[in-house]
């Protein structure tokens, strides 16, 4: 086991100091085409550089919220359904506290409490969540325009953008989200406790 440990350390140093310009050792696998990478790559980073072409507005999103079945689970007004609350009101907690909308994930302390529009550190987080995970049972069927529209609808209803603002690859990353204060993910190092000094 000690041998196994030693190897990765060398490799990490390799990344830091010399990079990995070597040629492949095994030559197994093939090179994907640019089109394959484009089609598969649905990751949207904080900078939003992978956001696809397309556009949408809150008004379009409001219609989609009903026609795509969102209201059935999240409530007609974005609350009161079985699924998490999406549109806050004066009664919705904005600070960490009991979660609005009960899901097992939230009950188990896995999901952060609160409204996604209040908690997501970037608007792209909402875009990505809708794009991957909604609607339930028809995941991956929304067009980019529809995802922009639904995101715009939730941003507008939570007072984060104006009703007539167009959301697209340029405007979405510029939306000022209320929660910019999130913990940086921990730096991981081999052979280090998960949190020094705990308990």
């Amino acid at each position: 086991m000690a041998m196994r440990r030693a190897v990765p350390l060398v490799m990490i140093l390799g990344v830091c100091h010399i990079g990995w310009a070597q040629s492949p050792t095994y030559g197994v696998g093939r090179t994907p085409t640019a089109e394959e990478i484009r089609a598969w790559d649905i990751s949207i980073g904080p900078a939003g550089k992978e956001l696809p072409p397309g556009r949408g507005t809150s008004k379009e999103g409001a219609q989609l919220f009903r026609s795509k079945g969102c209201a059935g689970c999240h409530g007609v007004n974005g609350s009161g359904g079985l699924a998490p609350i999406l549109i806050g009101s004066k009664d919705t907690p904005t600070a960490p506290g009991p979660p609005p909308g009960k899901t097992v994930a939230m009950e188990m302390g896995i999901m952060p409490p609160g409204l996604m529009a209040n908690n997501a550190p970037h608007a792209q987080v909402m875009w990505d969540y809708i794009n991957r995970g909604m609607p339930i049972g028809k995941e991956g069927t929304l067009t980019a325009n529809e995802v922009y529209s639904l995101t715009a609808f939730l941003l507008f209803k939570n007072n984060l953008i104006r009703e007539d603002e167009v959301m697209d690859a340029q405007s979405l990353p510029k939306v000022k989200m209320p929660n910019r204060e999130f913990a940086p993910p921990p730096e991981w190092k081999h052979g280090t406790p998960q949190l020094q000094g705990y308990p």
Binding site: W20, W188, Q194
Partner: protein, 412 residues
């Protein structure tokens, strides 16, 4: 005795048939050699063995909730740790936890692909067969869901700790694949993504990806089970369960934490709390005697259980039979592999008096498993029975043995 009858009848019938077989004749029950051969190809006899019908240990859904839930989405199935022996969880009894995957994708492995791209010199696509051509390793690792946490209402160790299991995982080191692709300087994270309907994805530190992560196609000597990510699962040893990306289809090398689908669940304002949602701390639990088991009377027993740590190998397990006033070193009864369940035991003569049993794990980093009181004190919170420890809960579990030998949750 009633339950034995069918078996005895079956034996007599088969015996008669075999006697007939030896004589080359038709048996009294009318079975021919062809009949027996047909029976011989049945699943349980030859093709895929079954356990004894007297062994009834099974998984069960998380207490008080349906799995799948009302949406058919959240699905948490607990492993029966109270019946476990050794350190390997049979694949059929391995815990399952998912929020968006009780519908298991029916993936044809011949159609499945793994793409590695992003900040690499040579993006690559592999078939499962191509991955199997590459040098592989087998390692024993535990997995644990962050939902595995102490609650006073838990009655059994299955309920309190059943969201952890341990298996032998076989696959290609991710470091090898990343080296083939050529990671570019400036890269610091990877995003691992599954092929299921929501394409669940997590950000993982590049340092971890290059250290010990495995792209696995094997689990306990056979292909990874569908509930566990068939045909490919990324194993991130020692990290919380959600990072162990099932149905792995894509790895993107990036230069920052990506706040992708599963990452949102790790959103915390306190960096200390965020840190406890990644690598699992040292943890242990006594599996015998544990909740709802019963000691038949005073005398000799083995206190036994499982210990594990996301930080490395288990170095030591201590057991207290007096509620934590005094501690004895348990024996490690299995190899102590890094990031693996480790079996411990202590020979014990029960005097028939009420007592409180608990275990404490110390890992190779010297980190000790905290008590609930220590955790509450760290977070400056009052210790109540309902106190929910932030991040992964690795606190000490207590089991109370009553004078009549019955065992209950000592945290209740």
């Amino acid at each position: 005795m009633e339950s034995k009858k069918p078996n005895r009848r079956g034996f007599l019938k088969d015996g008669a048939a075999l006697a007939g077989l030896a004589a080359g004749a038709r048996s009294a029950s009318g079975q021919t050699v062809a009949d027996l051969r047909a029976k011989g190809t049945s699943k349980e006899l030859i093709a895929y063995g079954e356990r004894s019908r007297f062994v009834t240990s099974v998984r069960k859904p998380t207490a008080g909730r349906d799995s799948p839930d009302a949406f058919g989405l959240a699905f948490h199935v607990l492993s029966p740790l109270q019946d476990s022996v050794g350190i390997i969880t049979p694949s059929s009894l391995h815990y399952v936890a998912t929020h968006r995957g009780s519908f298991i994708p029916d993936i044809d492995p011949r159609e499945h692909r793994l793409m590695i791209h992003g900040m690499v010199d040579r993006p690559l696509i592999f078939t499962v067969e191509e991955l199997k051509r590459l040098p592989y390793v087998s390692r024993i690792h535990f997995l644990e869901c962050i939902g595995n946490r102490a609650r006073p209402e838990h009655k059994t160790v299955q309920e309190s700790h059943g969201l952890t299991s341990c298996a032998e995982w076989t696959g290609v080191p991710l470091s090898l694949l990343l080296k083939e692709a050529g990671v570019q300087s400036g890269a610091s994270w990877i995003v691992a993504e599954g092929a299921e309907e929501i394409k669940g994805a997590s950000s993982i530190p590049l340092a971890k990806a290059l250290d010990d992560c495995l792209v696995c196609y094997g689990m306990n000597g056979e292909p990874v089970r569908p509930q566990q990510g068939f045909p490919l699962r990324l194993i991130v040893p020692g990290f919380e369960g959600i990072y162990q990306t099932k149905y792995l289809r894509r790895i993107k090398v990036v230069d920052q934490f990506y706040w992708t689908y599963n990452d949102y669940g790790h959103l915390r304002k306190d960096p200390k709390e965020a840190a406890l949602g990644q690598q699992i701390g040292p943890k242990s639990v006594i599996t015998f005697p544990s909740g709802e088991q019963k000691l038949s009377g005073p005398g000799f027993y083995q206190i036994t259980g499982l210990a594990w740590s996301g930080g490395g190998a288990v170095r030591k397990v201590e057991i207290s039979i007096d509620g934590g006033r005094t501690w004895k070193d348990a024996e490690l009864r299995s190899p102590a592999y890094p990031m693996a369940h480790t079996r411990f035991a202590l020979n014990w003569r029960w005097d028939g008096k009420e007592c409180m049993l608990l275990s404490r794990c110390i890992d190779e980093l010297g980190t000790a498993q905290p008590s609930r009181a220590e955790a509450a004190k760290y977070w400056n919170k009052p210790l109540t029975k309902d106190y929910n420890v932030p991040g992964a809960d690795n606190t000490i579990q207590l089991w109370k043995v009553a004078a009549d030998g019955s065992v209950t949750n000592g945290n209740a």
